[in-house]
Structure formats: structure tokens, C-alpha cells
């Protein structure tokens, strides 16, 4: 009995390592092929609209709502210590440093990850990817590189949108409760911030974009097993890219502190 369990565990470990290895090779191919001609600029532009522009209606309301909620929590804590004037600074630092990038990453992983995973998996199982190849079109460049590039380029812009939407939400909440002016809120909010609070935290979202794009493209592009495979690719794209995002964020935060201490 124990031997059977051991065999099953062993098989799962081998399968996991195989998948991790395949994904590693896939990611390396993405990096290599991204700089190979043709650059597929038109398709990248189309994907930026699909991935970036169409995520805006999701990002802005979420940012505003997050800002309001954060502001309510921050007020409840800081008022106890008579530090309500610190609310804008606390809000801005929390939003720009961590909440904005992370929440944007997770929202895009949910919306775009599932979309890319299911779209490519659908194309794989209906032989559309083979059809592209048969028409002498490099499907990897056309489908994968364009989507990953679009994710990498769109994430920082969406993060900035999320950051400022959060700020607006916080301002709205504070203005309602304490009647603080917009100028004072913004002044207090950014007084404690330096460039190292904006640039690295925003740029790290390019890594998030790569993770979301590469994971969902990998799962979609290599999908099998018909309609079931399409469903699996969509679900696993969201789960795996969200999980990786959270784990990789730990390393990125540590590196940010190390380089911009």
C-alpha cells in the first residue's frame, strides 16, 4: 500500500518537474523569439487593445472601490492614534508600492489569463494553430509572442491607472468624511513619496505581465484533450499565473528593497 502511494507521489513529482521544465523552455523561447523578425507590430497593437484597453473598464472601478475601502480602514486605525493627517500618505504609499501593482496583476490574470488560455486552447484543438502553420505563418510568433509582449507593455500602464483610481477613491472617501481639499490630500499623499516608490514598483509589473502572458499562452498553446482541455487551460491559466504572481512578488519586493533601500 505504502509502495503504491510512493509510486503515485513519485509520478506526480516527475510530472511536475516535466511541466516546470517545459514551461522553462517555453519562457526561454518567448524571450529569444521576441527579438526575431517579423516583429508582428500590427498584431501586438491589436493585442494591446484587447488586453490593455479592454481591461480599463475593470481597472478603474476596482481602483476607486479599493481606494475607498482602504481609506475607511486606514482612517479607523489612524484616528485612534490622532494621526488622521497621515491618512493620505499611508494610502498613497500602500497603493503605489504594493496594492496597485498586485491587484492589477491579479485582475488581469483573471480577465486576460483565462481569455488567452481558452482562446489558444480552442485554436489548438480545432486545428487552427496547425492551419496557421500550414499557411507558412509562424504560429508561435503570431500568437504567443504578440500576447506576451502586449501583457508586458499593458501591465505598467494599467497599474498606473489603478494607482490613480485608488488615489481618487481615497480622496473621495476622505473628502466626504473630513472635508479635506483635493490639493491638500494630494500634497500630503505625495510628500512622503520618492521616485523609488513609483518606478520600481510600477516596472515590476512588466514581470507580472510576462508571467500572465507566458503561463496562459503555455497552457493554451500546448492544450490537448478537446473541449475539456480548453476548460482546463482557462482555469489553470488563472490559478497558476495568480499563484506565480504572488510568489514572484516576494522576490521582487525583496530586490526592490535591496536596490532602492
Amino acid at each position: 500500500m505504502a509502495r503504491i502511494h510512493l509510486k503515485t507521489v513519485g509520478r506526480r513529482i516527475i510530472a511536475f518537474l516535466e511541466n516546470a521544465g517545459e514551461f522553462g523552455l517555453f519562457g526561454a523561447r518567448v524571450v529569444r523569439d521576441a527579438f526575431r523578425r517579423p516583429l508582428e507590430v500590427q498584431e501586438i497593437g491589436r493585442q494591446i487593445i484587447e488586453i490593455g484597453t479592454r481591461s480599463v473598464p475593470l481597472i478603474i472601478p476596482c481602483g476607486i472601490a479599493l481606494g475607498i475601502v482602504m481609506s475607511l480602514h486606514t482612517r479607523a486605525s489612524l484616528v485612534r492614534f490622532g494621526a488622521s493627517s497621515m491618512i493620505p500618505a499611508a494610502m498613497t504609499i500602500a497603493t503605489f508600492r504594493e496594492l496597485g501593482p498586485m491587484v492589477t496583476g491579479l485582475l488581469v490574470a483573471g480577465r486576460v489569463g483565462a481569455g488567452i488560455g481558452s482562446e489558444l486552447a480552442g485554436m489548438r484543438v480545432t486545428e487552427q494553430i496547425d492551419a496557421l502553420e500550414s499557411l507558412a505563418i509562424d504560429s508561435f510568433k503570431y500568437l504567443v509572442i504578440t500576447r506576451v509582449t502586449a501583457c508586458v507593455l499593458a501591465l505598467p500602464v494599467l497599474t498606473i491607472l489603478m494607482d490613480f483610481s485608488g488615489l481618487m477613491g481615497g480622496l473621495f472617501s476622505e473628502a466626504t468624511v473630513s472635508h479635506i481639499s483635493a490639493t491638500l490630500y494630494v500634497h500630503r499623499g505625495f510628500a512622503a513619496m520618492g521616485w523609488s516608490d513609483y518606478i520600481p514598483t510600477t516596472l515590476k509589473t512588466t514581470v507580472f505581465g510576462f508571467i500572465i502572458g507566458a503561463v496562459s499562452c503555455f497552457l493554451g498553446y500546448t492544450a490537448t484533450k478537446g473541449a475539456k482541455g480548453v476548460g482546463h487551460a482557462a482555469t489553470r491559466s488563472v490559478v497558476l499565473s495568480s499563484l506565480l504572481l504572488i510568489l514572484v512578488n516576494i522576490i521582487l519586493v525583496k530586490l526592490t528593497f535591496f536596490w532602492f533601500s
Binding site: G122, T126, E127, Q128, D130, A131, L132, E133, S134, L135, A136, I137, D138
Partner: protein
Amino acid sequence: MDSHANSLIRLDHVAKSFGRRTVLEDLSFEVSAGEAFCILGKSGGGKSVTLKLMIGLLASDRGSIVIDGQELEALDRNDLLEVRKKVGFMFQDGALFDSIPLGENLAFPLRRHTSRSEKEIREVVREKLSEVGLEKELTKMPADLSGGMRKRAGLARALVLDPPILLADEPGSGLDPVTAAEIGGLLQELKEKQRTTLVVVTHDAARVHGFADRLGVLDRGRMIACGTPEELADSRDELVRALASGGEAKDVFSKS
């Protein structure tokens, strides 16, 4: 120089397995320019795999595949894409790009591989679609087309770059006899008027009797018989005879 001088397509001792399942064990055949060669075999017998190997959509485990003098295994990715421009591939279910209209399905490869103007591209698309009787469906999405229409559209797209070779995967399967005959007629016309080299795989020889110059029977990963339709119809092998005649094969299949 050698016996293969006239062959446009040549497969030599090709083998292909998926995991433990061997699909092709030792497959060899040649097709000359302008010839229509049909591969017959039972469903799941490796016919589609053979076609996919012939344009490098799958890599063989062993053996060599030569298309128009170029050995696929020796080509880098860019050269392989160049070879594919010479080969049209008609997929079993059409494999149309479902996010764009039918006309765009045909215009897409033209925009990628030719320097034609948009006006010329529109003309070519209309011409190709009218050849398969779909000129009125230009703006329809693939999901709005019937199975037969999708197959014909897949044929039009495969031919849009005027390739000298066409590979067709089960062109008549799943269709009513009239539509299947229409597609057979289109393939025959292609062979006679444009001298296109055809490799057609099917499990139903009746669909290809009109235009096939030679038939090959694929069984258990090997080409067990190869010859003209008349030669195979007189074969001693029951399976070969049944497949080549295109009917009353039920008993033979149940025995094997």
C-alpha cells in the same frame, strides 16, 4: 540520376509514435508531379498523421520526408515555412479561423506572403471563393457556415497561394453524398486544369475514384499495397480489395 528524380514528394521508412502507441511503423511512398495519390486506411490508422508529417506539423521519429527536393528534417524553421508555401493543406473540419469572417480567412495568407494591393487581394479572394461556390458567403463568420461549406472554404483557403501541391485530409467525410461529390469534382478539376499534385487521405475510396491515379493502402503503420485503382481492386488481400472498392468493407474490418 536516380529512381526518385521525378518524385515531388518522397517518404522513406518513416516512423511515428505517440508515447507507447506506434502509429506509423515503416512508411514509404513517392508521388510524382501532377499525380493524384490517395491513401486509404481505417479510421485512426495514421492517415492524418502522415499528412501532418508531410508539412512538418509533426516530426517523424525515423526516416526521411522530401518535398520538392528538400528534406524536411534538415530544414531550419524559416526554410520549413518556405516549403509550406508550396503546399496547401485542406483540414478535415476546415480549421477556419473562427474569429474573422470567411473572406478574411483567405485574405490573411495573401497579405502575409504577397505584395498584392488590397484591391487585388479582394479580387483573388472572390475568385477563389467563387471556384468553390461560396462567393456570397464572403462576409459570413465560419460559425455561420454548414459543415460542407466549411470544407469548401478550407479548400479555397488551402489554394489561395496557388500551391503546386495539395494535401487533403478526408475531404468527403461527414458530408452528404452530393456535397462530397462536389468536393471530389473540385479536386478533379484542380488536378486536370492546374496540374496540382494531390495527396488525399480517406477511408472511402468511392470518393476518390474519379481522379485518383494511384491508391495506397495504409494498415498498421505500413503501406501494404500501392497501385492503380484497378490493380488494387483485383488484389488478393481482402482488406485492400475492400478499401479500394470503397464498399462492403464492414466484414473485413471486423475481422482485422
